[in-house]
Amino acid sequence: MKEKLGKLVENLDYTLLSAVVILCFYGLLVLYSSTRSGLGSIPEDPFFYVKRQFLWMVVGFIGLAILVFIDYHHFVKYSSLLYFLTVFLLIIVMFFGRTTYGARRWLSLGPFDFQPSEFAKVALIIFLADFLAKNKLKLDNFLYFLWPFAYTGVLMFLVFIQPDLGTSLVYLAILIILLFVVGVKLKYLATVFLIALSSFPILWFFLLKEYQKRRIILFLNPQLDPLGGGYNIIQSKIAIGSGGFLGKGLLGGLQSQLKFLPAQHTDFIFSVVGEELGFVGAILLLGLYTVVLWRGIKIASEARDLLGALLATGAVSFLFFHIMVNMGMAMGVLPATGLPLPFLSYGGSFMVSNLLVIGILLNVEVHKIKW
């Protein structure tokens, strides 16, 4: 046992691990800069947010460590249980969740708030990877191919009504990428895409809430309403753009320090990076993400079996979708869906889920050899 543990530690992907650790500290630094002068009614302590975020990081790394050492072949046995537990939690949240900013997303656990929809991302990766690896061949049947959509759809629906459009899109992205990687017929994917596209009007007129429609309209023309929703995007662009090549220095951002950026410690934290650390800082960040995703892809293609490959792919697609949508939103090139940025955005559940999927990656990596 001890010998096995030693071997595992020896074989860890330290490139990936270092990139993640650097990202975490990079995140704490930026978080400090964007929250040190207090936000709204929050206490005066300039380290209030940093301390809390660090605590969650510790929790996340503990979770990661545990996850690394349980061979993924063991824990996928509980994937169905995991899935139904998630559905259960999401239903609980529907009735007992705490509401903030008009969305019911949180469950209170003592002094901390827990966000089941974040936990669901990890659960969905495990569940789908297991399901697809087992049923790869059956997926040639179009009707069977729709099954994973049904499973994912349940989660999407439960999150969508919170309402949290962004997160439900994350689930969909994980599913689509996994289906693609597992090798389903591309024409099936195309068919689903066409159905989705043609159902868009239904979505628009019956399902999307007014604020969600406005977000999409505003994405198309943010100047339309400079003080409403579009204000965020304009302010974010001003912040990033004004950072220039080298940035205004940490704590030196006019926009960030004067709090022109809404949600600058969560969804718009990249704007603070752009303004204070400039092009150099933003590219450095993008580079760190590239390292993480590249190692993730490498782990996927070198995995021992299809299950490992799919688990790693799921982890990669989760991180990738968040990074892409968040940065794109901050730069105003993608609609504002309100997704946080991995390892940087403030938020305990999200931080933990980020580290857990890194745990999955490392797990697949160290178990590519049968011990």
């Binding site: 597992v182 003080l227 753009g241 022109f260 752009g274 021992r304 794109g328």
Partner: protein, 589 residues
């Protein structure tokens, strides 16, 4: 114990495609970053600064205006302005409804005003100027439900005596585009209050003061975080006038119900004690937001209440102009103290007949008698003998045709006819009959009451015309005299003292035994001349010009009543009352 991977090749291939997709996506992000931060960086830097630095302007109170005894005529009073900062409004419709209910303004009006200014969301939009105290208190009390509404205190011009001396004081208003360009002062900007007429306009640069400026850094909620630069406003300079409020009030009462002017000044300094015009207006109207209907009513009033008649309107001077004819004739040797001319009541020129106002004729008269009785035939004769060229030379010497130079804007210069002028205006030659008409101040000649006043001043001082002025001193906000108007001879009339003496005698005779007898007071040695100017607009204009005392002139007076009738009957009594007031004489029974 290594086992080879069982991942199908097909899956590995698709994973590679995913990698390519990720790389392409990240390149897309990187290119966007480059565009935003490096290519557009400078532009966004400017916008970021604009976003957080707000320039606030504190208005400077305009200088006060005092009469010569230091009594306040014009001051500022603080008014409460209700404004809305668009950025801070959460629900404009709701707010408009609430605020509209308090200040009794339709909610659509408020909404429109705010929406019109949405391009500058941090700049307060004025909703109500001069909010009454009770409403101010109510707004203050309900502040929490009126988020976005701010109350500001601003100075507003206050003319304490309403119509009194309105034409001299003038009024203020918002600067217009034309003035912005003409004044060319970088401190001025749209929305600023500047002088629009009268002294307010003439002395605007002194009265205006210097706006205060404050540059503050604000956070996203518009709260001031730091002051980057601050300059306190500097109040404008005060004006101490030469005008005497009591005399001015008295003069305006004399003119009540008439259209006309009274000017009273010191001939040896040019200080104007009275510059009264009727009908008048209340300059306070213009400090409020005047409605188009009101503006139309004032500006289209057939009595032209906005016109400063004494300075801006031109009229036939009538017989008062005989002073000038007499001056020219004496200097040119056309007449002397002895020459007598017979007046039969008619004057024949070729086939034209000009009449004296006294049908039966004056008989034999010398110059003094002719002035006293205002005999037209005597002056027709002089005019015919002098001719327009020589007459013109003396009009020139007296400064007619130029501005007198009073410290008020838009002074008129009159119409000074000459053969060239007639040719230009009417394409006609100058007839001998025109000489005759000119000699008694009729025909083409048109002068302002102020120009006539300037002539009588020249007679009083025997040739020195002092620049007439309304402002005695300009006083800094600290109370120091910033500029003092020294008496200045603006025109030295090159005419012999003997000539002036003779004219003075004639004008004294006018009061004692001639047409000006109704101006006579036995305690005062007044000299003067009446005038009854026929004009195409109807009833004659009544004139009186004079000075007193004869021996050592202290004041000059001009009374003009538009379409008032006979000068001797209408203008002369007004002059007497005015002078009795000035010299503190007992009212005659």
């Amino acid at each position: 114990m290594k086992e080879s991977s069982t991942v199908p090749e097909e899956v590995k291939q698709r994973i590679n495609w995913l990698l390519i997709f990720i790389i392409v996506s990240f390149c897309f992000l990187a290119i966007n970053l480059w565009y935003l931060q490096v290519i557009k960086g400078e532009e966004f830097k400017e916008r970021a600064v604009k976003n957080c630095i707000r320039s606030l302007v504190e208005e400077a109170p305009r200088g006060h205006i005092y009469d010569r005894k230091g009594e306040v005529l014009v001051t500022n009073r603080p008014v409460v302005v209700v404004s809305i900062i668009p950025e801070e409004v959460e629900n404009l419709e709701e707010l408009s409804k609430r605020l509209g209910g308090i200040i009794d303004l339709p909610e659509e009006v408020i909404r429109e005003k705010v929406e019109k200014h949405s391009a500058e969301p941090f700049k307060p939009v004025e909703i109500l100027e001069d909010c009454p105290l009770a409403l101010t208190i109510e707004i203050e009390e309900r502040k929490t439900e009126l988020k976005g509404v701010v109350l500001e205190v601003k100075p507003r011009r206050n003319y304490l005596n309403q119509e009194l001396a309105a034409h001299s004081l003038g009024y203020v208003g918002e600067i217009d585009q034309e003035e912005l360009q003409k004044l060319g002062n970088p401190q001025l900007q749209g929305g600023d209050i500047v002088g629009k007429a009268g002294l307010e306009k003439y002395y605007d640069s002194f009265l205006r003061g210097k706006k205060g400026q404050k540059e503050v850094e604000v956070d996203a909620l518009g709260r001031e975080v730091a002051t980057l630069f601050s300059q306190k406003p500097v109040a404008g300079n005060d004006l101490l006038l030469t005008m005497d409020k009591d005399l001015q009030t008295y003069a305006e009462n004399l003119l009540e119900g008439k259209r006309g002017s009274i000017i009273l000044s010191h001939p040896y300094s040019g200080e104007i004690l009275v510059l009264a015009n009727k009908p008048s207006f209340d300059p306070n109207w213009f400090t409020e937001e005047i409605s188009y209907a009101d503006w139309e009513k004032i500006s289209l009033d057939p009595d032209y209440p906005l016109i400063n008649r004494a300075v801006q309107s031109i009229y036939s001077p009538g017989s008062t102009f005989k002073i000038v004819t007499a001056l020219a004739a004496l200097e040119e040797g056309v007449t002397d103290s002895q020459r007598k001319i017979y007046c039969s009541g008619n004057f024949k020129l070729a086939d034209q007949v000009f009449t004296c106002w006294k049908r039966g004729g004056h008989g034999n008269l010398n110059l003094i008698g002719a002035l006293a009785h205002s005999c037209n035939v005597y002056f027709y004769t002089l005019g015919k003998e002098l001719g327009v060229q020589k007459m013109g030379r003396y009009m020139d010497k007296l400064g007619l045709g130029e501005k007198v130079g009073i410290d008020l804007p838009a002074e008129a210069t009159g119409v000074i006819p000459s053969p060239e002028w007639k040719q230009r205006e009417f394409k006609e030659i100058w007839f001998p009959g025109d000489d005759v008409n000119l000699s008694i101040g009729q025909g083409y000649l048109l002068l302002t009451p102020l120009q006539m006043h300037s002539i009588i001043c020249a007679v009083a001082t025997a040739g020195d015309i002092y620049r007439p002025h309304l402002v005695k001193e300009i006083i800094s906000p600290e109370g120091e005299v910033f500029e003092k108007t020294e008496p200045e001879i603006s025109k030295k009339v090159n005419i012999s003292a003997n000539t002036f003496q003779l004219i003075q005698k004639g004008l004294r005779a006018t009061i004692l035994e001639g047409t000006g007898w109704q101006a006579n007071t036995k305690e005062l040695s007044l000299a003067g001349k009446t005038g009854t100017a026929q004009n195409p607009q109807g009833e004659s204009h009544a004139w009186f010009v004079g000075f007193a005392p004869l021996e050592k002139p202290e004041v000059c007076i001009t009374v003009f009543v538009e379409n008032g009738g006979e000068g001797g009957e209408v203008a002369a009594p007004l002059a007497r009352e005015m002078l009795e007031k000035y010299f503190n004489l007992p009212e005659p029974e």
